[in-house]
Assembly symmetry: C2
Homo-oligomer: 264 residues x 2
């Protein structure tokens, strides 16, 4: 299959690597600098739009006059569904929203991380659903269907799982390096087994797997922790995380303390 990939970013690069390895021809890599090439993309059967969310609408508008029935056009945005592809759908082309549920760092692991990766997919009908299933399988992944009107809620969940987990662990790493008066690399090594056990437990059991001072309603210890965090921004995040932890685990004293700064 001849493929055009619009977008020079991490996702486009990983997909190009993976599709090439599966025997497809990446005929065009169209970047912002070569956007006039958009008129050439329709020589390909498959056109992949992997551009930053804010640019997607403009790319669709530029591409729409050049596509027709028989083309498959997909975007890899998480939050967008099919609406943004309307100008293309009206040409009779197949449109898909096909989002890899993975984080991409710009290295060779990006392509290999696609192996076994889940894809959040929204389609218009049975035919496009079948095509999506074939494409996802070709990429070594597994397909998850997302309703068009649930894309943003779905994407918000992934922000929690990926971005905010990373934020919390950045703070953990820096706080531990301070406490041990050592490097952040050394702190990361110490944290790894604990973090891996914690995520295994919580993915299995949800809030029942949350342990520690906030979950066992130990206001005194939560307050001592706050007193031992020097960074003001980190301390503010700590307080809110203690509050949410208490809310999820029914730790009423910590919840009250987080709201009011007072103990029961």
């Amino acid at each position: 299959m001849d493929v055009a990939i619009v977008g020079a970013g991490r996702v486009g690069t990983a997909l190009a690597t993976r599709l090439s390895a599966a025997g497809h021809n990446i005929v065009h890599r169209i970047t912002r600098d070569s956007s006039s090439l958009l008129v050439d993309a329709p020589t390909c059967q498959l056109i992949v739009l992997s551009v930053p969310d804010p640019q997607l609408s403009d790319v669709v508008t530029a591409l729409a006059p050049h596509v027709k029935r028989g083309h498959i056009v997909l975007h890899t945005s998480g939050a967008h569904g099919l609406d943004i592809l309307d100008p293309i759908e009206t040409t009779g082309a197949i449109v898909l929203a096909m989002h890899p549920i993975m984080t991409f760092v710009g290295g060779p692991e990006d392509a290999s991380n696609l192996e076994g990766c889940y894809w959040g997919v929204t389609t218009t009908d049975e035919l496009s659903d079948t095509i999506a299933e074939l494409l996802v399988a070709e990429l070594g992944g597994q397909m998850i269907r997302v309703s068009n009107n649930k894309r943003v809620a779905y994407h918000a969940a992934l922000a929690y799982a990926s971005n905010y987990t990373a934020t919390v662990l950045s703070d953990a790493r820096a706080q531990l390096a301070d406490a041990l008066q050592g490097s952040e690399d050394a702190a990361a090594r110490v944290l790894r087994p604990l973090v891996e056990a914690s995520i295994r437990n919580v993915l299995e059991a949800g809030p029942d797997a949350i342990t520690g001072p906030a979950a066992r309603d130990d206001v005194a210890m939560v307050q001592r922790h706050m007193g031992a965090i020097d960074d003001a921004g980190r301390r503010q995040a700590y307080r809110e995380l203690a509050r949410r932890t208490a809310e999820l685990t029914g730790a009423h004293d910590v919840e009250l303390w987080a709201h009011t700064g007072e103990q029961h």
Copy 2:
């Protein structure tokens, strides 16, 4: 070696399993209900105090009159250092603060999770440091030295890494189950590869590995996420996590929005 373990909780149980497997005799398991047995503990060379933090001081007070030079007494509390063991140290016994950097769920995996586990250890002198090193090695672990006055800062870092990571992932799991109109188990399966890649990246690179709308200063998307989160407590946590993410990544518009609710 004859060992007495005070405390019937998860940590004490895992240590008993592990020490038995290493060929030691667990002579006493002393629980709250059998606290009169504290007078018998000193027939053992090693006395392990694995009780909840709020009870530790009372246990030390009850035990102190019965120990003497030649005993080794350790506690497994994370936040407490050596001060709480003062009444025992004055008897001439060796005292250690020896905290397993692990989360315990009350199952058989608790004992196996001690293999390769790091221990945060605080000791009084070279002899007690050597003893701690031998004990940690015997338990299959690795020793990390924590200054006595840094124990709370150290413990706060672990709360981030374990408890608050679990809180964020509980919300991710529930939010994704809602969005996919599926079960939390199914949502957890979808999240696992993403979460594993994210923690690998962030433990290696810190804040540089944080991606997503808040990190790339996309206020519009952060606001759309907020609009797609129905649970008010989850939404409040989302806002603070977006703020902290923006602070760590220099995303000024999102930071301002989180503070004021307004866009630049």
